[in-house]
Symmetry: C2
Subunit: 267 residues, 2 copies
């Protein structure tokens, strides 16, 4: 976790979570409090949580688990002393039987002693590492959400959880693509290295201009599209598994933690 | 250097160098004694050696220096106790005033107290690492020399040494290309990570089927061409610098050393 030398970062994160908690901030968290880990969130009833844990274990690149709560425990002390998973995400997707039924800014009405929360690493951590290394990220430059695509790459199923891998796409010139592969390799808990480069049709993407999630981001003629596994992958698996209740963050509106991105680095 | 646990490897290397020394082996060294470093060789008169040393320093990816001799010292003890640089390479290119004038199997007639030898790391070291990681290398599968191309990427000049970077090309499917970038990043003294992927025309290569050096190696539709800096780069700089005398190995016919490839790895 961040230490005293990161006090300013921690203050920023606490203030942001406060604004999120009281409903005054409900937006996208990309670029907010750079240096700190942001997380994908999945909340499930206990009876579904064990199968989902196995799903994460079997698909560590799409689903890099960084925290799992005990049933009914809404706090996430490993990621920040004050974090309350019921209120500290700008906006939540509520799924019933696999269908998105509601988007809300807190989930206290849905919480019970039966609920288990999972936090998964997120590409925002490696975006910060890429920026720090001097690379430009098109979706950030254009102030858009990253493009996300459902691929034809099947995940390993666990009980009722199954589905194809969702990827994010960022375009880079070849030398920067090589650099991006090196940098993100260091961050396996933030999806790690890309899983594909250069040939979208080979992974079932027909039109780069038409992402399934997020915004369209142009790829120039001298650029290669680079694809990373994405934390939206489990949302596809949840739609397929159809648990009676499941709550996730809204893509792009993440849990901001007190953990340093550099803490996720293996090298 | 290799230790007792690598005795078998060292025996193989010594026997191969013996066959090379007595002229009974004059062929390509790719795939011979896997596990041991093979080197590019450049031999220059002392007065040219200082400028060439700076050229290597300025262009460490093309010219990863692993040994430099004192003037007139034909031995290379850092790379193998018995190595005599005058006899232990299968075939030498002899350049006079930048022109290739002869190919010989020993250079005793050209040697003098004035000559300085340089040994540079070679892509054969990372090819072994790629094979060990389960990747297939097309030029090896086809028993051909790797394709080499002169690019439009200028090296940093040193005195009269200048020229464009020469690259080797190996085709990989996208996921293997990512893996190859990761693996070769570990080996900066063997040219390290690729310097380009995917767009040959952006680095001045018009036709992948027509390499300037080595053999043609086909690239399939589902593959990306991956380009590494190559130890033939200094041979281009030598042609440009036009020293009165310069001796190199013949591309693909390398110095086989007693150093382990794994000793070159930084991680």
């Amino acid at each position: 976790m961040a230490n005293n030398q990161n006090a300013e970062l921690l203050d920023k994160a606490r203030l942001l979570r406060h604004d999120i908690r009281d409903g005054s901030f409900t937006g996208y968290t990309s670029g907010l409090v750079p240096g700190l880990v942001q997380g994908n969130v999945v909340i499930l009833p206990k009876v579904w949580a064990e199968d989902f844990l196995l799903y994460c274990y079997l698909n560590p690149v799409s689903c890099p688990l960084i925290s799992m709560s005990k049933p009914g425990d809404a706090m996430v002390p490993a990621l920040g002393a004050d974090i309350d998973i019921r209120t500290d995400i700008p906006q939540y997707n509520v799924f019933k039987d696999g269908e998105l039924v509601e988007q809300v800014t807190d989930i206290e009405q849905y919480w019970s002693d039966d609920m288990v929360s999972f936090v998964l690493g997120c590409s925002f951590s490696f975006e910060e590492a890429l920026l720090r290394a001097g690379l430009s990220i098109r979706n950030i430059d254009l102030d858009r959400n990253v493009s996300m695509f459902e691929t034809n790459i099947a995940t390993a199923p666990s009980a009722k959880f199954f589905g194809n891998t969702v990827v994010t796409m960022r375009p880079f010139k070849p030398a920067d693509a090589i650099r991006a592969i090196q940098i993100t390799t260091r961050l396996p808990k933030a999806h790690g290295a890309p899983i594909h480069i250069g040939m979208p049709n080979k992974i079932g993407i027909e039109d780069l201009a038409k992402p399934e999630y997020g915004d369209s981001v142009p790829v120039n003629d001298d650029e290669i599209p680079v694809f990373w596994a994405c934390g939206v992958t489990p949302q596809v698996a949840i739609r397929n598994a159809k648990p009676p209740l499941c709550i996730t963050h809204v893509p792009g509106k993440m849990l901001v933690t007190d953990k340093l991105n550099d803490e996720l680095a293996v090298l």
